[in-house]
Point group: C2
Chain length 411, copies 2
Amino acid sequence: MRCEVIAIGTELLLGQSVDTNSSWIGEQLALAGIDCHYQAKVGDNIQRIVDLLTLALDRSDAVILCGGLGPTQDDVTREAIAQYMGATLKRDPALVDRIRERFAARAREMPDNNLRQADVPVGASSIAEMPGTAPGLICPIGGRVIYAVPGVPSEMRTMLEGSILPDLKRRAGSEAVIRSRTLRTWGQSESGLAEMLAGRIEALDRTGNPTLAFLASGIEGLKVRITAKGADSAQVDALIAEEERLVRDVLGDIVFGVDEQTMESVVLDLLRQRRLTLAVAESLTGGLLASRLTDIAGASDVFRGALVAYASDVKHQHLGVAEGPVVSEAAAAQMARGVRDLLGADVALATTGVAGPSPQEDQPVGTVYVAMALGAQVETRLLHLGGNRRQIRQFTVIGLLNLLRRRLLAA
Amino acid sequence: MRCEVIAIGTELLLGQSVDTNSSWIGEQLALAGIDCHYQAKVGDNIQRIVDLLTLALDRSDAVILCGGLGPTQDDVTREAIAQYMGATLKRDPALVDRIRERFAARAREMPDNNLRQADVPVGASSIAEMPGTAPGLICPIGGRVIYAVPGVPSEMRTMLEGSILPDLKRRAGSEAVIRSRTLRTWGQSESGLAEMLAGRIEALDRTGNPTLAFLASGIEGLKVRITAKGADSAQVDALIAEEERLVRDVLGDIVFGVDEQTMESVVLDLLRQRRLTLAVAESLTGGLLASRLTDIAGASDVFRGALVAYASDVKHQHLGVAEGPVVSEAAAAQMARGVRDLLGADVALATTGVAGPSPQEDQPVGTVYVAMALGAQVETRLLHLGGNRRQIRQFTVIGLLNLLRRRLLAA
């Protein structure tokens, strides 16, 4: 079973917006065991869309068209499908009612041209899910099929998950359940992970199920995705659980979370379970550590606050940092103790260093001291970080949170 | 002149990484006056790349291939081009030397397979710019041309700007200079901007030069891009300057900056010019305001620090906020005064409110009070914000910085 993806919209070709939809769809197709050899972007032009459809259905079994289903004259996806099918467009009264209801529910006037969205090529049907005002389409053509979904990512995803992926799997004759689970890691390169997991990869290459894939997630570490296929959920879940156990045995505590967890959500959970409160003193990270923690709903259970001591005299006056260099181990330790006492927390973290672009106190860019105060104990660490200002600040935050995570797990 | 873009890499089809290169290239082509009707993604597969090349050069004059120029066996872009051209690959001794030098300069061992990167199809030549270890290629075929660049965005951009765009313009016989300038705005919807600028858009539709385009930039406001074409730089710059004057006359101070400027860089510049220092007290934004300010190099000239007073008792104890509700106008004003005095700054900003997901003090999610203290004066504002937790926090920060910007400009 092969399926292509065509993203439609002149703004995509002009670089006025980036097509992230086809990337997400590609991932879902791969997880469903459906091959996707080509993806394309094309403007709002009927003839070019028809040409691409002709080509795509010549070499694949299905095409997902994404975008161009809106109410304006620019939106020509419906017309292009009708022309490719050699069918006329017919207004669907049931869809007219649904679109009217949507506007009424939001207490908005419906412009008349929105009714264009109820036009369906004869032989096609609308997709059951309709989270917005644009209906999606399923258009069977002999043994092949065209799907059309809106370009709004949330609407596209709802239709993919609700109707299109199940329909594709049914057409592929696949009864298999496919699921995946992602382990999030911090502290190893991709080649390091591959080396550690070489034994598992070799073993899995023989069986082909489950599979392991490494996914980069920018500055936030690497993901190890376990994907398993089976006859039912229980079998798949057991395969994943067993593989997760084996992978965790190898990787140990460089796995910091799973799926949607982040370093900060994991640290907040660990502190909450231990009934510990947290305060933070930041210099080079300038509020980034506090900001990432408070981005998580429920942070207020744990997080008391932060002093961003950007000017040196603020460090001396409010955190008890001794006069002298502030990019130093001593300053980091004093900042952690200082903010713990100032804000009355059980645990405190502190950062000081050189984010760049210029050196400071004769220390090169990327020199960072972090500190962690738990009860009477204070631990410090010197980091030498590469990258630009933004990367140095982010690595400092994630690295320090990871130190606290490991410390809490070890306690 | 028509040019297509093909992004190469199986990881792009599987959604393991998002293709942002072709979007950026599309923007550059549009700015250079070159039409781009199709963009595609394909895996690391020689035959499929050859098929796409055949198709693309059948309907367009040029193709830019992006990716697949690395040293591993997966990287087959060179082979695919050679096959399409009916040419053999020949190792270029000058490229071998350049690649060796790159490794030597970084004090790294060069694995032997890196020499594959010096293979060039007979009839093609390498691109002068080579920021990494992968050479780019220019492959003329009759009157048409294939360019190949690495998938690493910074390397791709250097080659595009240095060689490919000038070569394309030369082939298009275009002597015209095209430049653009982007005005960044805050506080108007796209339809609001379009309405305000309807007169300009109509006037420009008649002349066709310069042109105006609206670009969304997510949560950071809307951009108005002015693009002009002319015989030389002086003429183009004059056209842009005149149009910028007319657009600014209409939009007034909702234009906060140009091109790479951000709301925070503009505010820091205004404070620096006025020799004023800044401190910040944050509740719902939890460090995000401080973090955005300190993300800008040189913030330390202006920014003294912040108190993130997340727990209510931190507000009472350290900022002089009276006992009672903390999501209130009075609390915001007291936080601003309190942090100005605590950290010894000329200007102070404060935020308090409900970021969600749950209401607080019986106030609904999205209720936000912000305050601004300048000298003896304190101004407050009540905002009712929509969106999720992340959006409410970001809107609060940008909105408050915008208030300070307008206040400083009015003073």
